[in-house]
């Protein structure tokens, strides 16, 4: 597993993703991108869905990418990556690659490009078994177009298309469990990670890219503009999502769930909600009953996850026991 030293050395020597782009100060996305790219040993080819990352890093004729990079459209990053990965296999087989050797194919797409408009292309690519790592940088809304709700937006969050108002407490629906949907494709590696836990993320990238098949990592990525927090608090807020068990860190290897880093103590969900302006209306007296709904939701999902992890742990223990 890559250490901080290794990652720092890669950052210095290869500088796969360079500064000078126009992502916001305090944006979580480049943190995720650097952690992912610096955790991969082989040459990397990146496919990017339309979104903040694409727009802010490739304003023609400049580019922040020091690795091969492809963007086609919003909903088709997984499909375009399927083509790239297939081309690699076809060219490698007949010895026609410009530079021979192993390569890692990484897709970066936001939650809109993954949970919503890109879900079909993602599902197709996973089912076909292309060997690629799909990284969703999940900042819980369409941030690039001005903070519209997506199916990743949490219950109660105020966005520009689910605004809190006199008759509304923000988004009325709960977020989609994309990880479970991806797990249902029987791919070898699925994980949830956060920019606050770089070693955990880096280890997951290393495990994901060692698999012979598709891998998917959903990385919680802050958006100071959309979430409404001070830019300097990005990492702290991402960490609070983990510590309140809103965003547990786990992985699903060949269908088996495992918690990768449990919180030392489980904080109440309000500790995560309170510093974010998108939830501030929930603390008004008339919205208290909606706020009160959130803690039980988080508790239930956390307990379900623990139960799944426990079940899978005992199943693998049983599998390890010698036959009677």
């Amino acid at each position: 597993m890559p250490s901080l030293k290794t990652m720092a050395r890669r950052e210095r020597r290869q500088s796969r993703f360079q500064g000078g782009h126009s992502l916001c100060r305090g944006c979580g996305v480049p943190i995720a991108v650097r952690a992912v790219l610096n955790s991969i040993e082989t040459p990397v080819v990146v496919v990017n869905a339309t979104g903040c990352l694409e727009v802010a890093t490739t304003r023609y004729p400049a580019t922040a990418w020091n690795v091969p990079w492809l963007h086609v459209a919003f909903e088709n990053a997984a499909a375009a990556a399927s083509g790239v990965e297939t081309a690699y296999r076809a060219l490698r087989r007949r010895g026609a690659l410009p530079v021979d050797g192993p390569m890692t194919f990484v897709v970066f797409a936001g939650d809109g490009g993954t949970y919503d408009i890109g879900l079909q292309a993602l599902s197709g690519a996973l089912e076909r078994g292309h060997r690629l790592l799909y990284v969703c940088y999940d900042n819980e809304a369409y941030m690039n177009t001005g903070i519209q709700r997506s199916s990743a937006t949490p219950f109660g969050a105020s966005t520009s298309t689910s605004p809190a108002g006199l008759e509304s407490f923000g988004k009325l629906e709960r977020r989609k469990d994309i990880t479970a949907i991806v797990v249902a494709h029987h791919i070898p590696y699925v994980a949830q990670a956060s920019i606050s836990h770089w070693q955990d993320l880096s280890d997951k990238v290393a495990r994901a890219t060692s698999m012979d098949g598709p891998a998917f990592i959903n990385v919680l990525t802050t958006c100071q503009l959309g979430w409404g927090h001070e830019p300097r608090l990005a990492i702290r807020i991402a960490r609070l999502a983990v510590e309140t068990c809103f965003w547990p860190l786990y992985e699903v290897v060949h269908g088996r769930y495992r918690l990768t880093e449990g919180p030392l103590r489980k904080l109440p969900i309000e500790a995560w909600l309170r510093p974010q302006a998108r939830f501030s209306h929930l603390f008004a007296p008339e919205n208290r009953r909606w706020l009160a709904e959130i803690q039980p939701q988080v508790d239930r999902e956390w307990e379900d996850l623990l139960a799944r992890c426990a079940l899978d742990a005992s199943a693998s223990d049983a599998a390890r026991e010698p036959p009677p």
Partner: protein, 398 residues
């Protein structure tokens, strides 16, 4: 063991045999043996990808097939593969082309030389499976080259020429080889195939200037272009399309050397001394030729101008070809509600300022048959045509 409904002729069989347009194109694909083919089934294109899949299953082609979950993804995968550095193809019809159209525009702008086998079919709605050209017309301004075949032989020949047209360094654009759905795609006729190695050496090696997979020389494909650059990039794309006219001459010249079959971007059929002419795309040209022959026997000076290159549209040579003609009928197999039918609009522009009467006919929507009598009627009506007139419909019930 897989159930088989059709026995395939042996790979080494060269010469004339009975093939449908789909089979002829599938053979061209087998002979070209592209690196990647990204596909999704849709009538009437499906026989092409089924036959290619069987060629691969039997080891007669080495193409990596991506069975995508939609045409949108198929075209997206083809873009990824083509820019990665692999010769890439797809095939589609109608709704499939409509679904992939977003990516067809992007492919052209990213200069991805993808060969697209198209079996033309009417667009919904109402849903219909038969031929018209509404699907191609939807792609008119996409930046993809569009070549129309008259029959299975042309579909095969143009498919063999397509990689060289698409991949020429001055072009680097998607190329659609269009054949009329069912009329060509599902009708067997004599087709002369080239030898496999003749096709291989004709198409040569695939090369793009900046393959994405060149990790030693990283490149950024598909960046964000704002008002300071977008316009210039689009203009360059237009230049690439214009370059195709010269590239066509070279490629078609070489192809004639190999096959003995010369092709232009249009075909003038008995036009030399004609005073009346029909202009048409696709398989209907064959029907018009029969009527022209018949009327010529009775001394009528009639002819046909068949459009092979719809994009780029060979405007000047078309105008030159029709310079002696007094009246022209343009037969469109698509509508443009609220405006002139697509081919008519282009012909009006091509013939602007010429002393020629121009008459507009729309025919064959959703697979409606066009008979010899309809074409005889058009030539009769052209005798008295003056200036411009309102659109008329052939084979439409009142």
């Amino acid at each position: 063991m897989a159930h088989r409904t059709l026995e395939l002729p042996p790979a080494e069989a060269v010469g004339t045999r009975s093939l449908t347009g789909s089979e002829a194109v599938a053979h061209a694909i087998r002979q070209i043996d592209p690196d990647v083919m990204a596909v999704y089934p849709i009538t009437p294109q499906t026989p092409i990808i089924e036959m290619v899949a069987r060629f691969v299953a039997d080891g007669r082609a080495t193409t990596q097939i991506i069975n995508a979950e939609s045409e949108h993804s198929a075209m997206s995968a083809a873009v990824g593969a083509a820019l990665a550095g692999a010769r890439s193809m797809t095939a589609t019809s109608s709704q499939g082309l409509a679904l992939m159209i977003e990516v067809v525009y992007i492919a052209a702008s990213m200069r991805a030389p993808i060969v697209m086998a198209v079996a033309n079919r009417a667009l919904s709605g109402p849903i219909n499976i038969h031929c018209d050209h509404s699907d191609s017309m939807l792609a008119r301004d996409s930046g993809a080259v569009q070549i129309f075949a008259e029959n299975a032989q042309e579909a095969y020949d143009f498919m063999v020429m397509a990689p060289r047209l698409a991949e020429h360094p001055d072009v680097l654009l998607p190329v659609m080889i269009c054949q009329d759905g069912f009329t060509i795609s599902h009708s067997a006729e004599p087709v002369s195939l080239l030898a496999d190695d003749a096709v291989r050496s004709f198409v040569g090696e695939y090369r793009v200037p900046y393959p994405l997979l060149d990790v030693g020389r990283p490149t950024t494909h598909g960046p964000f272009a704002m008002p300071d650059y977008y316009f210039e990039l689009k203009r360059r794309q237009g230049d690439a399309m214009d370059a195709l006219a010269h590239v066509w001459c070279d490629v078609a010249g070489d192809f004639a050397g190999v096959s003995g079959r010369p092709y232009g971007l249009h075909e003038a059929y008995r036009l030399d001394d004609a005073d009346r002419a029909i202009v048409v795309l696709g398989s209907t040209a064959g029907t018009v030729k029969d009527v022209v022959d018949e009327l010529r026997c009775s001394g009528e000076r009639v002819g046909l101008l068949k459009i092979t290159g719809f994009r780029p549209f060979p405007e000047r040579s078309i105008a030159a070809g029709l310079s002696g003609v007094r009246s022209v009928a343009v037969l469109d197999r698509a509508l443009s509600p609220g405006g002139p039918a697509p081919l008519l609009a282009m012909m009006a522009a091509a013939l602007y300022g010429m002393p020629v009467a121009l008459r507009s006919y729309v025919y064959g929507l959703g697979g409606r048959d066009l008979g010899l009598d309809h074409i005889r009627r058009v030539f009769t009506e052209l005798k008295v045509a003056r200036g411009r007139s309102a659109v008329r419909y052939l084979g439409l019930r009142d």
